[in-house]
C-alpha cells in the first residue's frame, strides 16, 4: 500500500465524475504526483486499481506526460528552458553554470537529495528569458548572481 487513505478517497470520488473512467486518469496522475512528488509504477498500479481501469492504461498515460517525474527527484526540481528565446539569452551558459554549482549533470540529482536539474522545452516565458521553473514557481531574467542567491536560500532552508 503506497497511496494514502486520503488520496485513495479522492480517486474514488473521481471514478464516476466523467462518462468514461479513462477521463479521470489525468486528475489522478496529479493526485499521485501531489502525494509523492513523482509517479512510480507501483503507485500508478494502485491508483489504476482504485480507479478501476487497467494498470497498463494508467502507466501508458503517465509515460506520455514527460513533465511528471517518473522517479524520485530532489526536493527542488530545477527545470531550465533551453529553447530558442532562452538559448539566445544564454540558457546554455546557465545550464552549465548550474551543473558546475550543483556538481551534477542534466538529469541528475545531488547526493543530498536537494536538487534535480532538468532542461525542458519552452515554458512560455520568452519575454523574461532566460528562465527556469523550480517546483511550481518561475524564476525569470536569470543571472549568475540571482542563481547563486536562490541556491543559497534553498540550501539554508533545508
Amino acid at each position: 500500500m503506497y497511496l494514502s487513505e486520503q488520496t485513495r478517497q479522492k480517486i474514488m470520488e473521481l471514478r464516476d465524475r466523467y462518462p468514461a473512467r479513462l477521463a479521470a486518469v489525468l486528475p489522478v496522475l496529479h493526485l499521485v504526483y501531489d502525494e509523492f512528488g513523482y509517479l512510480g509504477t507501483d503507485q500508478l498500479d494502485e491508483a489504476a486499481d482504485a480507479l478501476g481501469i487497467s494498470r497498463l492504461d494508467m502507466n501508458e498515460t503517465a509515460s506520455f506526460y514527460t513533465l511528471f517525474p517518473k522517479h524520485k527527484v530532489g526536493k527542488y526540481l530545477i527545470q531550465v528552458c533551453d529553447n530558442i528565446s532562452c538559448a539566445l539569452r544564454g540558457a546554455d551558459n546557465l545550464v552549465s553554470y548550474l551543473e558546475s554549482k550543483l556538481g551534477i549533470k542534466v538529469g541528475g540529482t545531488t547526493p543530498d537529495g536537494l536538487f534535480t536539474l532538468w532542461t525542458v522545452e519552452c515554458l512560455g516565458s520568452c519575454g523574461t528569458a532566460p528562465m527556469m521553473q523550480v517546483n511550481d514557481k518561475y524564476y525569470e531574467r536569470l543571472t549568475r548572481e540571482k542563481v547563486d542567491k536562490l541556491l543559497e536560500a534553498w540550501r539554508n532552508s533545508k
Binding site: 487497467s54 497498463l56 492504461d57 509515460s63 506520455f64
Partner: protein, 846 residues
C-alpha cells in the same frame, strides 16, 4: 430521413447513416482514401493523419476516418490542398523511417511502401541522422523480442497503434501498450512483461509496416514469392477461415482469410503459429511395418497389403466384431463417412468411435440428444442479441478462442453480461465475467442447484455437493431469471458419467429462463458434429439417423448390400477395455492416440499391446503408433481437401494447397485403398465425389439439407426429432468423493490455450510459446506448501507419479491442480485410472 445524412464527395452525392464517417461515405462511393490507423473493427483514433481530406468551409484538412459525415458537407479528396496535405503527412512519417525495405519482411506488402508510391514525396529534404531505437548496443541490432514469438523493430513503426488497440479493444488483454510519446514512443507490456496474449499474431498481420514480425516468418522468404491457398483452420471448433502462404511444399505462414461472420479477420496463436506443425520435418515420411519386432520403412503397396492381409485373417479368426476403429474429431466429413463405411460395410463392425480423450463418452441416446442441439446453432454474429451468456463446463478462451472474442464483443457493447461456471476461474482480463468455480466433476450438482434455485426450491444440499456457496447460485438465478440467455455447454457436461442428466437439466434450465433462450454446444475439435453426423459412433449411421432396422435398410440400398451389422458395437472405452483383456482382434487408429491421451494410460497401453493386430494412420509417430504393427503416414490439413462443420454449424470446404509431402497420403485415399484391398468395389477420384454420395444418403434419411457451400461456408439446414427428456423430479444431488489424507489434491487436466493435443507442439514456435509441461497450482495452495514458482515437484496418484516444474495460476480452484495434456513426454494419463471419476494426487517438492 432523420437518421441519414446527405453529403457531396468529389461532386458526387452520397447518403449514409448518421454517425458514419466521411471515410465510410467515400468507401460507399468506391473512392479510396489512403489510411494507416483506420480499421473497421477498432474505434477511430486519427493517429496517422494519412486520410486527410478537404472539407469546404473547414479551416484545416480533416482526418476523414474520424470525422462524422454531416448533412450538406462538401468533401474534396483529390483537391490540390488535400493531395499536398497527405504528401506532407507521408514526408513527416518517413522523416524518421529507416527505409530498410530490402531487408524488411514486410517489403512488397507494406502499406507504407504503397502509400509512398501513390501519394508520397519522391525524396527526402533532411540530412540529419534518423532517430534509431537500438536494442542491442554491441551488435547494433534494431529488432527485439516482445514476447516468445513476436519481434519488434521500433524504427519502422509509424505509430498507428493498431497493434495495441487490437490487443486491448478486441482481445481484451493488457500486455501490449505504447509508452512515452512522439518518436520516443516504444511498445511493450506493463513492467516489460513479455507479450503473451493468445491473439498476439494478429498484431503482425495488421501492422501496416514491418515493425512487428513473427519469429516463424522472420528473414525467411519474400512474400511475393509465395502462393496463397484458402483453407480452414483445423485446430478447434471455431473453423476460422485462413490463407496458407506456401512455396512448393513448404508452408511459410498462416494468415486470416477474413470471414466477417466467423473470425472477423482475427486468428488465435494456436491456429496461426500452431498450424505450422504441418511444416515440421519430424513428420512421418514413409509407411512402416513391423518386421522382427522393429518398425521399418516400406512402400505403400507392401504396407497396405500387409494391413489388409492381417485384417482379413483377424476377421476370419475373431469375426468382424473383433475389429475396432478409432478415428478422431479432426477428420473431414468425407474421411469420416468413408471410415464409417469401411467399418460397417467392408469390415462389418459397428465398433467405431472418434473420441478418445475422455473415459465417459456419451451413449447413443446422449449422442442423439446432442445432435438435436448441435444442429440448432446460434451463429457467432448473433451473440450480441442475448442479454446474458451462461457458460458451463468449459473455459471458452481455451477451447474456442475466436468464439470468445464474440463473447467479449458482446460484453464490451454493454448489452450483454457473461456468467461462467467451471472448475477453474474464467477470466477475460479486461472484459468482466462473473465466474463460479465448482468442484471438478461438479457439473451435475451445480446444474441441479441452479435448476432448483430457478424453481424456488431448496438448494442447500446440491450447492454444497457442487462446492459453491448457495447464496452465489441464488444470485445467479435471480440475475438470469426471465432474461434472454445463451447457454454455452462445454464438453465437461456431456463427457461425464452423468452426461445425460446434465443435458436434461440444461434443457430444463433453458426452458425456465427468458423467452428466446437457447442452448449452444460449442464442441472442441474441428469436426465433432461431422463425425456424429456421418456415422463415427456405433449407434448413429451416416446421415445422422439412429442405427436401427429401418435406417439400416435405407443405407443398405444406397451401399448396394444386403445387410449391415446389427446394432450394438463398442465405443472407445469399451474397445480399449476389451482389447486390454485380450478380447479384440484388431484395432485401427485413424489420427487417434489413446496411449497418449486416453485417461488411463495403463489400459490404453495394454489394449494396444494385447490386440493381435493394430495399425495407426497418423502424421507424427505417436505413443500409440510406436506400439502398432503398421504405421501409415497421414498428410496434414494443408495437403488434403474436404469439408468440416464448425461448432457454429457452418459447413466449410477446403482445398489442398499442395500435394502431400514425402510419401504421406490424404486420409480418404488411405481409407479407400485399404477398403479396396478388403473387397470394396467402389472408387472415388476426389473428396467431392464422396461428398455427392453422402449428399444422396443424407437426402434419403431426410434430415440434412444443404447446397454446395460457397465462399465463407454455409449453415447446414437440419432438424432432428427432439429426444425424450427425463422427468427431473427424482434428481438428487450426489456428493462426490473427497480427497484422502494421503492424496489431498484433485487432479484436473486439459488442453493448453496455445495447443491442440500434441500436434501443435511440432510447430517451430511452439516450444517458445508454451515450453514444457508444468503443474499449475493456486498460489494460496502453493504458499501453504511453501512452494515457489518453478520448483520441481513430484505429483503422485495411486497409479503412478510424474516429475515436473510447478507454475502458479490464480485461476485454479484451491485444492485442485492442473496439468496440460499437450506434452507427450509428460505422460499425464499415467496418473489416471478409468475406474474412478476423480483422481486424487499428492504434491511433493523435490
Amino acid at each position: 430521413m432523420p437518421d441519414q445524412v446527405k453529403l457531396k464527395i468529389e461532386d458526387r452525392d452520397v447518403t449514409v447513416d448518421k454517425g458514419q464517417t466521411i471515410l465510410d461515405a467515400a468507401l460507399k462511393l468506391g473512392i479510396i482514401v489512403p489510411t494507416f490507423c483506420w480499421d473497421p473493427r477498432l474505434k477511430p483514433i486519427a493517429a496517422c493523419r494519412m486520410c486527410l481530406v478537404e472539407v469546404e468551409k473547414a479551416p484545416k484538412l480533416v482526418p476523414s476516418c474520424a470525422v462524422p459525415a454531416i448533412e450538406g458537407m462538401v468533401v474534396k479528396v483529390f483537391s490540390e490542398k488535400a493531395i499536398r496535405g497527405r504528401k506532407a503527412v507521408l514526408e513527416f512519417i518517413l522523416s524518421n523511417h529507416p527505409l530498410d525495405c530490402p531487408t524488411c519482411d514486410k517489403g512488397g506488402e507494406c502499406i507504407l511502401q504503397d502509400h509512398t508510391f501513390n501519394h508520397g514525396p519522391t525524396g527526402s529534404r533532411t540530412i540529419e541522422p534518423r532517430n534509431r531505437t537500438i536494442f542491442d548496443e554491441k551488435y547494433k541490432f534494431d529488432d527485439f523480442p516482445l514476447g516468445p514469438v513476436i519481434w519488434l523493430n521500433m524504427n519502422r513503426c509509424i505509430f498507428c497503434f493498431k497493434c495495441t488497440r487490437i490487443i486491448k479493444e478486441i482481445a481484451g488483454d493488457d500486455d501490449l501498450g505504447a509508452f512515452n510519446r512522439g518518436y520516443h514512443t516504444i511498445l511493450h507490456g506493463h513492467k516489460n512483461r513479455p507479450f503473451r496474449s493468445e491473439f498476439s499474431g494478429n498484431t503482425v498481420e495488421n501492422c501496416p509496416v514491418g515493425a512487428l514480425v513473427a519469429n516463424s516468418f522472420r528473414y525467411k522468404v519474400r512474400s511475393w514469392l509465395l502462393k496463397k491457398t484458402p483453407s480452414v483452420c483445423h485446430l478447434c471448433g471455431d473453423g476460422c477461415n485462413i490463407t496458407l502462404w506456401h512455396q512448393g511444399q513448404k508452408l511459410f505462414r498462416i494468415y486470416s482469410r477474413w470471414n466477417r461472420n466467423v473470425d472477423n479477420g482475427l486468428l488465435c496463436d494456436r491456429g496461426r503459429f500452431g498450424g505450422l506443425y504441418a511444416d515440421s520435418d519430424r513428420r512421418l515420411r514413409n509407411p512402416k511395418i513391423r518386421r522382427e519386432g522393429k518398425l521399418i520403412d516400406t512402400t505403400w503397396e507392401e504396407a497396405l497389403d500387409f494391413v489388409a492381409g492381417n485384417l482379413e485373417s483377424i476377421r476370419a479368426k475373431f469375426t468382424a466384431a473383433g475389429i475396432g476403429v478409432i478415428g478422431n474429431e479432426m477428420l473431414s466429413n468425407e474421411e469420416t463417412y468413408l471410415l464409417s463405411r469401411i467399418a460397417r460395410r467392408v469390415i462389418g463392425t459397428n465398433n467405431i468411435d472418434f473420441r478418445f480423450e475422455d473415459k465417459f463418452t456419451p451413449s447413443t441416446d446422449l449422442n442423439l440428444k446432442l445432435l438435436y442441439f448441435l444442429v440448432k446453432r446460434i451463429p457467432f454474429s448473433k451473440f450480441g442479441e442475448f442479454r446474458n451468456h451462461l457458460i458451463i463446463g468449459t473455459d471458452t478462451e481455451v477451447t474456442h478462442p475466436i468464439m470468445t472474442l464474440w463473447l467479449k464483443r458482446a460484453i464490451s457493447s454493454g448489452r450483454s453480461k457473461c456468467y461462467a461456471a467451471y472448475h477453474r476461474k474464467t477470466d477475460f482480463t479486461l472484459h468482466p465475467v462473473e465466474s463460479i468455480e465448482y468442484f471438478p466433476q461438479g457439473e451435475y450438482n451445480f446444474l441441479l442447484a441452479l435448476y432448483s434455485a430457478l424453481k424456488g426450491k431448496s438448494i442447500d444440499e446440491s450447492a454444497l455437493a457442487s462446492g459453491v456457496a448457495s447464496t452465489l447460485i441464488q444470485r445467479w438465478a435471480e440475475l438470469l431469471k426471465g432474461s434472454k440467455t445463451l447457454l454455452l455447454a462445454g464438453e465437461a457436461l456431456y463427457n461425464n458419467p452423468r452426461g445425460s442428466e446434465n443435458i436434461d437439466l440444461l434443457k430444463a434450465i433453458c426452458d425456465l429462463l427468458g423467452e428466446g433462450s437457447v442452448i449452444n454446444i460449442p464442441y472442441d475439435g474441428s469436426n465433432y458434429l461431422g463425425n456424429l453426423l456421418w456415422g463415427a459412433t456405433p449407434g448413429i449411421l451416416p446421415g445422422g439417423s439412429q442405427n436401427d432396422e429401418e435406417n439400416r435398410s435405407i443405407i443398405c440400398k444406397e451401399w448396394k448390400c444386403d445387410n449391415l451389422p446389427e446394432a450394438g458395437g463398442m465405443d472407445t472405452s469399451q474397445m480399449l477395455t476389451a482389447a486390454s483383456e485380450g478380447k479384440m482382434g484388431a484395432l485401427i487408429f485413424f489420427g487417434s492416440d489413446p496411449v497418449g491421451f486416453y485417461p488411463d494410460r495403463e489400459i490404453a497401453t495394454k489394449a494396444v499391446q494385447n490386440a493381435s493386430f493394430k495399425v495407426a494412420c497418423e502424421t507424427f509417430l505417436t505413443e500409440t503408433g510406436k506400439l502398432c504393427d503398421a504405421v501409415l503416414p497421414l498428410a496434414p490439413f494443408p495437403e488434403c481437401s474436404g469439408s468440416l462443420i464448425s461448432s457454429e454449424g457452418r459447413l466449410q470446404f477446403f482445398e489442398k494447397a499442395f500435394d502431400p509431402a514425402y510419401s504421406s497420403a490424404e486420409g480418404w485415399r488411405i481409407i479407400l485403398r485399404l477398403a479396396q484391398r478388403l473387397g470394396f468395389e467402389g472408387d472415388y477420384s476426389s473428396p467431392s465425389e464422396i461428398w455427392s454420395e453422402m449428399a444422396s444418403i443424407a437426402d434419403k434419411c431426410g434430415k440434412v439439407d444443404y447446397k454446395q457451400s460457397q465462399y465463407g461456408g454455409q449453415f447446414l439446414k437440419m432438424d432432428f426429432a427432439a429426444r425424450a427428456f427425463s422427468n427431473l423430479d427424482g434428481f438428487q444431488s450426489s456428493p462426490l468423493p473427497s480427497p484422502t489424507a494421503e492424496f489431498p489434491m484433485i487432479l484436473t487436466y486439459g488442453a493448453s490455450v496455445y495447443q491442440k493435443r500434441n500436434l501443435t507442439a511440432y510447430a517451430e514456435s511452439m516450444d517458445k510459446i508454451d515450453p514444457g509441461p508444468k503443474l499449475y497450482i493456486n498460489p494460496d495452495n502453493a504458499a501453504k506448501m511453501k512452494l515457489y514458482e518453478g520448483d520441481t515437484v513430484r505429483v503422485s496418484s495411486t497409479k503412478g507419479s510424474l516429475t515436473m516444474k510447478s507454475a502458479f495460476d490464480y485461476r485454479i480452484r484451491p485444492g485442485t491442480v492442473f496439468i496440460p495434456t499437450n506434452f507427450q513426454e509428460a505422460e499425464f494419463n499415467s496418473l489416471l485410472s478409468s475406474k474412478s471419476d476423480l483422481t486424487f494426487v499428492k504434491i511433493e517438492r523435490l
